[in-house]
């Protein structure tokens, strides 16, 4: 039996509903319909009253979750697309994220964001929002790249006492498969070396991990060993694992699907430059999407985002220095 990334997300929610009566799911069309991507398929029938359809009101969806979390529940809010979470940003950034700091009381909730580009999705159904959420204190921001992490990290997120932004990548939903759900979770807040190497450290997260792995495979054919680090969680950022990798390779390329101004890839470069300067044999580099809205046509889209081909080219530049 093979399990997709999307199956894993559904299974994690089912397990959370099963194990903890304080968990409930709230979002547009998540009830009987099972969600726009079917991430909550059959859950409303199995857990009556705990998988609740919301109006098209992103602000109120998050606000309601904040109130429910203050009252001891553990809401899991599904945004139909990460892009639409901008409408609920105020409640997430100013309300959920400040509650623990201001009151000393936990605000345990998960905001699930179907994120990232897919062909033909265009400017408003393709965005990666981790940069904005990571900028604000008080939030944990997860970006799982594998089926196993999608399952175990979502369970971890639901069990946390802090608000978690869970960025799940739509491109991975159906294509990424595993043999079985993991019985053990990877270490919390730790990055993972997805492919060992000694020539360049390529830091990536979410769908970009797979592009980076494909680029590493291509460069292996040219005699270069690329180490791919999967951040898993972008906030908090596991600086230690990144620095340890750069200590082995002396070179860094940080890749992000989001826009180039700021963000996780910029943070990785900044930390390596300031804390690992003496480890570097070449200027640390980064690769992101182009600085335009995300294009609709697949031809344009494929050129807009970092792909294995573009990552391989950037890695060759880093190696050439």
């Amino acid at each position: 039996m093979s399990i997709t990334y999307l199956d894993a997300i559904r299974a994690a929610q089912e397990k959370a509903l099963q194990d903890d009566p304080s968990v409930f799911i709230y979002g547009q069309d998540v009830g009987k319909f099972g969600g726009a991507f079917k991430a909550t398929k059959n859950l409303a029938e199995k857990y009556p009253g705990r998988v609740i359809d919301s109006p098209i009101s992103e602000d109120a969806m998050v606000g309601l979750a904040v109130g429910a979390a203050m009252e001891g529940m553990k809401p899991v809010v599904e945004m139909q697309f990460a892009d639409f979470s901008t409408v609920g940003l105020n409640q997430m950034l100013n309300h959920a994220a400040t509650t623990y700091w201001r009151t000393g009381r936990p605000c345990p909730m998960v905001l699930r964001l179907p994120s990232g580009g897919t062909p033909g999705s265009g400017p408003f159904h393709s965005q990666s929002m981790e940069t904005i959420y990571s900028h604000y204190p008080g939030l944990v921001v997860m970006t799982p790249a594998t089926v196993e992490d999608a399952y175990s990290m979502l369970l971890e997120a639901i069990g946390m006492e802090d608000p978690v932004v869970f960025c799940e990548h739509k491109l991975l939903y159906y294509h990424l498969k595993a043999e079985a759900l993991p019985s053990e979770a990877g270490p919390a807040f730790r990055a993972h070396v997805a492919r060992p190497g000694r020539d360049v450290t390529c830091v990536a997260y979410s769908a970009m991990v797979h592009e980076a792995l494909a680029a590493a495979e291509e460069l292996a054919g040219e005699g270069h060993e690329i180490e791919v680090v999967d951040l898993r969680t972008v906030k908090p950022l596991d600086t230690d694992t990144i620095l340890a990798s750069v200590a082995r390779t002396g070179r860094l390329l940080a890749v992000g699907e989001s826009w180039p101004w700021g963000g996780a890839s910029a943070e990785v470069v900044a930390r390596v430059a300031s804390e690992g300067f003496e480890l570097l044999d070449a200027p640390p580099q980064r690769l992101n999407a182009k600085d335009t809205p995300i294009p609709y046509h697949p031809n344009l889209w494929a050129a807009h985002r970092p792909t294995a081909v573009r990552i391989a080219a950037a890695l060759r530049e880093v190696l050439r220095y």
Binding site: S57, V62, E71, A97, P137, M160, P236
Partner: protein, 315 residues
């Protein structure tokens, strides 16, 4: 009402003396409406006040000392110096700490009530307050609409004081009466003269009772004026004279005083005034003597989960 008025008068003079950290926003003239909400609630209910709800807070049971601790910067206050003044709250007491973004507390209060329903805690009511200006926000609309869809026991009290900061209400909305909006949400609503304490008690009592009995959200619109600026930095000169001199501009506290005199309770009123004065002075004195927040003792952590803090935070 008396305690709220005297506490705020004191805060205003402390503000002018430079003793308050941050802004001071008063509820002068809105005490009757606010207090009536606090009185109508009981223990186990939820109250999400806004910036002009000192009276409602005290009526709901917020200790006066916590008020003064927050304004005077004592570290023993409920927010420990991390947030201040009107933003204070106490989740253990059911008082939600407001954020500045207007309308945001409507859905949060609805969320508390939804959680209570899911936990099978019956009979609790949530009450949140806002001004006429806040009804223009998307957050207000989304929150009240969700509460109506879920039929939650939520009372939304709008203090229609005719101005949002300096903007008169004809620049804020085009409907004749905010109460008309209730129909659009499919909920019940009732208007009240916000300067009349008895009427406020009556209407708020009824709204809370209806919500408690399962009639779904209730909208209450109190018509009144704020008898001060938006904050103590504002002289409020934009408020039209005719409006100030109208019935709407009455001071609810004077109405209350006359009411007590008419009922032969003039002596009681004087006694209450003296007791309120004394309580305010004592709270100010106590809070002034308490230690202030110490940046070296602050842990500077915005997250609670072990390991969730960034590397620059010492675990």
């Amino acid at each position: 009402m008396l305690r709220a008025r005297f506490a705020e008068d004191k805060l205003a003079s402390l503000y002018r003396a430079g003793r308050i950290v941050g802004g001071v926003y008063l509820g002068r003239g809105q005490e009757a409406l606010s207090a009536a909400g606090g009185v109508a609630l009981r223990k186990g209910d939820v109250f999400a006040p806004l910036i002009r709800d000192m009276a409602g807070r005290l009526a709901f049971g917020e200790p006066l000392i916590d008020v003064m601790r927050t304004y005077l910067g004592s570290r023993l206050g409920p927010m420990k110096g991390r947030d201040g003044n009107i933003h204070r709250g106490d989740l253990a007491r059911g008082i939600l700490p407001m954020i500045s973004h207007l309308g945001a507390m409507v859905s949060a209060t609805a969320g508390v009530l939804l959680a209570k329903r899911m936990k099978k805690e019956k009979g609790s009511v949530g009450l949140t307050c806002l001004g006429d200006g806040a009804t223009s926000t998307g957050s207000f609309h989304e929150g009240l609409n969700v509460a109506a869809v879920e039929k939650l026991p939520l009372v939304v009290v709008v203090a229609d004081n005719a101005y949002a900061y300096s903007t008169p209400k004809d620049r804020q909305f085009a409907c004749a009466d905010l109460l008309d909006r209730a129909k659009g949400y499919g909920i019940e609503g009732e208007g009240v003269d916000g300067t009349d304490p008895e009427a406020c008690l009556d209407v708020l009592g009824r709204a809370v009772q209806k919500a408690r009995e399962g009639s779904g959200p209730q909208l209450v619109v109190g018509r009144l004026l704020r008898l001060c600026g938006h904050g103590e930095h504002d002289d409020g000169l934009y408020v039209e004279k005719d409006l100030k001199n109208s019935e709407r501009g009455r001071d609810c506290l004077s109405v209350m005083e006359k009411m007590t005199q008419d009922r032969g309770m003039g002596k009681d009123w004087e006694k209450w005034k003296e007791a309120a004065h004394q309580e305010v002075e004592e709270a100010v004195k106590k809070a002034s003597e308490e230690p202030v927040p110490d940046p070296f003792e602050e842990d500077w952590r915005a997250t609670r989960t072990q390991g969730a803090a960034e590397a620059w935070v010492e675990e």
